[in-house]
């Protein structure tokens, strides 16, 4: 059996509650090599199969042990153009690390932390693969600059296409910029990764809402784009659907997190967009978004921040590391509670009333199903952040009747191809809210289909 994991240093839990600095500090080279030495270099590596983009994990780990850091980075980059990001935010325990053989009897190899180390090494030392791109002059367009769009852009550019990314907001990165907070993913890392794509020749256009500023039809038929990739994400918040949900003081997580991450409201009034959270904050939900919202509220100075979740602790869908960090930061978990009503005074939130749940049989997801009990509990609160899920916004569909979507507004695809010829899609807009690496995988796979489509059209 292998020894314990090499621990990554973290900021002190009391200090970090007052700032937005990154919590996990990263490995030194010695740490990384020590951790890498725990890998058994399996003949049939289970970790690779569990990584959605199939990074050759034992190969990069071996190169890291040998001190060949540039090559180790290139090995990752072949399959994943955003290692610094995925190393930080992948739910590794459910993917690569969850499958690692060392994890059967002990703790799995910290694959994510090693990937992050190499990604950061390349950013800090400006290590880039020298690759000559032979321009083919063929225009392709990408809608949305989240991980799906970025991964698609990188692949299409490598193949020589002239790539334009259109982003509705004033900054690039999608959820990586407006959703995931700085203390988990510093924004300059996202900016640096975006700049690398710019250096490769990908053209970025902000403030362009496809379907409004210009339509899919206009891009294809008036502007000469040969193929499009839709990576517009799942940004539209899902409501709880309970009385009082529009009282002032109730935020959807997107609004709350966008105010802080994209609009920098924690620097108000230097930054002109305010955010107001009060002293007692309830966060509804148990995923990454809920953890981010709760930990952000704490950093804005709230005294009492608690999670309201309708199942138990073991069912929380958030990344394990985020749950641990939230507990350390004094976030209270109030479990088996389901909000049923918000109560206000003069339209301002005062209380949330919750039904106490009981856990029944395990459902399809393997988690115990929450059942209503008919008994209730009420909490006094100043604000509430609803973080229970998202679906795609209706803008693309409304502007393009031919674009087929399902009843949740998700774009229907067949091998990444949408119902409109030449138009491909991937990421959250197809899957519903999922993960960064799945979105990137979809963007990458779609690039293969786009390339095939364009070539077959040209040989016609």
């Amino acid at each position: 059996m292998k020894g314990p994991r090499t621990v990554m240093p973290v900021l002190d839990a009391v200090v970090r509650r007052t700032n937005f600095d990154e919590v996990a500090c990263g490995y030194t080279l010695e740490d990384a090599q020590l951790e890498a030495s725990r890998c058994l270099d399996c003949k049939n590596p289970r970790c690779i199969a569990a990584c959605p983009v199939a990074i050759n994990i034992p190969k990069f780990i071996g190169e890291l042990i040998e001190g060949n850091l540039d090559q180790a980075y290139f090995t990752i980059y072949d399959d994943n153009v955003l290692p610094s990001i995925c190393g930080r935010v992948c739910p590794q325990e459910k993917q690569c690390e969850g499958a690692c053989i060392v994890g059967i009897k002990g703790e799995p190899v910290s694959i994510g932390a090693l990937e992050r180390f190499l990604g950061d090494y390349s950013l800090e030392n400006d290590v880039l693969e020298k690759r000559t791109i032979i321009d083919n002059g063929i225009k392709v367009g990408i809608v949305g600059s989240g991980p799906a769009g970025l991964a698609n852009a990188a692949e299409m550019r490598k193949k020589g296409y002239s790539v334009d990314i259109f982003e509705a907001l004033h900054d690039f990165g999608g959820v990586l910029k407006y959703g995931i907070p700085d203390f988990r993913l510093p924004k300059d890392i996202v900016t640096t990764e975006v700049n690398r794509l710019k250096d490769m020749g990908v053209k970025f256009h902000k403030n362009v809402v496809i379907g409004k500023s210009i339509t899919i039809d206009q891009l294809l038929n008036e502007e000469g784009y040969q193929s499009l990739f839709l990576g517009s994400g799942a940004g539209l918040p899902s409501p709880l659907g309970v009385p009082g949900e529009n009282l002032s003081g109730i935020y959807y997580a997107n609004e709350f997190l966008t105010r802080v991450n994209l609009m920098k409201s924690h620097k108000f009034p230097e930054s002109a967009t305010p955010v107001k959270i009060g002293q007692r904050v309830a966060v509804v939900g148990g995923g990454n978004v809920a953890m981010d919202a709760a930990r952000t509220a704490k950093r804005l100075g709230a005294k009492e921040v608690f999670i309201l979740y309708r199942r138990d602790m073991e069912s929380l869908p958030a990344r394990l590391e985020e749950i641990h960090h939230a507990i350390e930061e004094d976030i209270d978990f109030r479990l088996t509670l389901n909000p049923v009503e918000f109560i206000g005074e003069n339209y301002r939130l005062k209380q949330v009333r919750c039904e106490i749940m009981e856990l029944g049989e395990r459902d399809k997801s393997g988690r115990r199903r929450p059942m209503p009990t008919g008994t209730y509990k009420t909490f006094e609160i100043d604000s509430c952040v609803i973080s229970i899920g998202q679906k795609p916004n209706p803008i693309l569909k409304e502007s393009e009747a031919d674009l087929e979507v399902d009843k949740w507004g998700r774009i229907v695809t067949d091998n990444h191809q949408t119902s409109i010829p030449g138009v491909f899609a991937g990421g959250d807009v197809v899957s519903g809210a999922a993960t960064v690496i799945l979105a990137m995988g979809a963007g990458k796979d779609a690039s293969v289909e786009m390339d095939k489509y364009i070539k077959s059209k040209q040989s016609e």
Partner: protein
């Protein structure tokens, strides 16, 4: 960057700006709006598209607080950092014979493109326009080109009837009937106009102005309750039939950040 090509002072608080923004102009229709950001630490603020001319977009803004005042400091030749649109759904242009526009204050700006569209379709349009005093009545010359009758109200009686737009409406409805009205102005004004029109059985379209951030349906800040159901003003509106709107809730939501807006204004004074 979006270049300011023209700037006109309409009154001490209100300016018109023509901005070069080809991708906003390309598909814009009456009722659409834009969201702009003046500088790197600026707020995203929504403003209605008042006119389109080739690649250029006109906006009219009232210097109400920090961000609109910052915008007002820009001059011809300066550039606005971010300017995105057209956002929202275009206004519903009903198939009717007579329309009455009801404008309060700077609401006269967003109303203009809608009334113009009705007039262009050969529909008879009248206007009731109200403001604090005569200096705040804007765009009269533009409205004179398209309206048959214009009725003015000022709080202090310095022009037209002394009183509110509702004062004028009470008189007007004694002799006239309209198929459709469109009311745009402060929320309280729209609330009272809708209540009054209900009594006279006249439908009222309103243009709602909740606080917005992205304008693409992402944040949910702009939500409004209409007939007990939730709508996002940026993607479902901003134009809605006024009858079912929960104005009191919306007024509270619009007011939620008033203390912070005050802090921002102090920053202006210091500057």
């Amino acid at each position: 960057m979006y270049k300011i090509l023209e700037k006109k002072v309409l009154n001490i608080d209100v300016d018109l700006m023509v901005v070069e923004a080809p991708l906003v102009a390309r598909n814009a229709l009456p009722g659409h709006f834009i969201i702009l950001r003046v500088d790197e630490l600026g707020e995203r603020i929504p403003l209605t598209i008042v006119d389109i001319d080739g690649q250029n977009v006109s906006i009219i803004y009232q210097k109400l607080g920090y961000s609109t005042s910052l915008l007002g400091e820009l001059k011809v030749g300066d550039e606005i950092l971010d300017f995105v649109g057209p956002l929202g759904k275009p206004a519903h242009i009903h198939d009717v014979k007579t329309v009455l526009g009801i404008a309060g204050g700077v609401g006269a700006a967003p109303l203009l493109p809608q009334l113009k569209e009705y007039a262009a379709r050969g529909i008879k349009v009248d206007l009731v326009i109200g403001a604090r005093n005569k200096d705040y009545i804007i765009l009269l010359d533009k409205y004179e080109e398209i309206c048959e009758n214009i009725y003015i109200a000022t709080d202090d009686g310095s022009l037209g009837t002394k009183g509110f737009v509702t004062t004028v409406l009470t008189e007007l409805y004694k002799t006239k009937k309209y198929d459709q009205t469109i009311a745009i102005g402060p929320l309280v004004m729209m609330k009272f106009v809708v209540a009054m029109n209900k009594k006279y059985n006249v439908p009222t379209d309103v243009s709602l102005n909740p606080i917005m951030i992205d304008g693409t349906g992402m944040c949910g800040n702009c939500r409004v309750t209409i007939d007990g159901k939730t709508f996002f003003a940026c993607i479902d509106g901003p134009d809605f039939p006024g009858e079912g709107v929960d104005f009191d809730e919306l007024i509270a939501r619009q007011d939620y950040y008033s203390e912070e807006e005050h802090i921002c204004n102090l920053k202006l004074v210091k500057k």
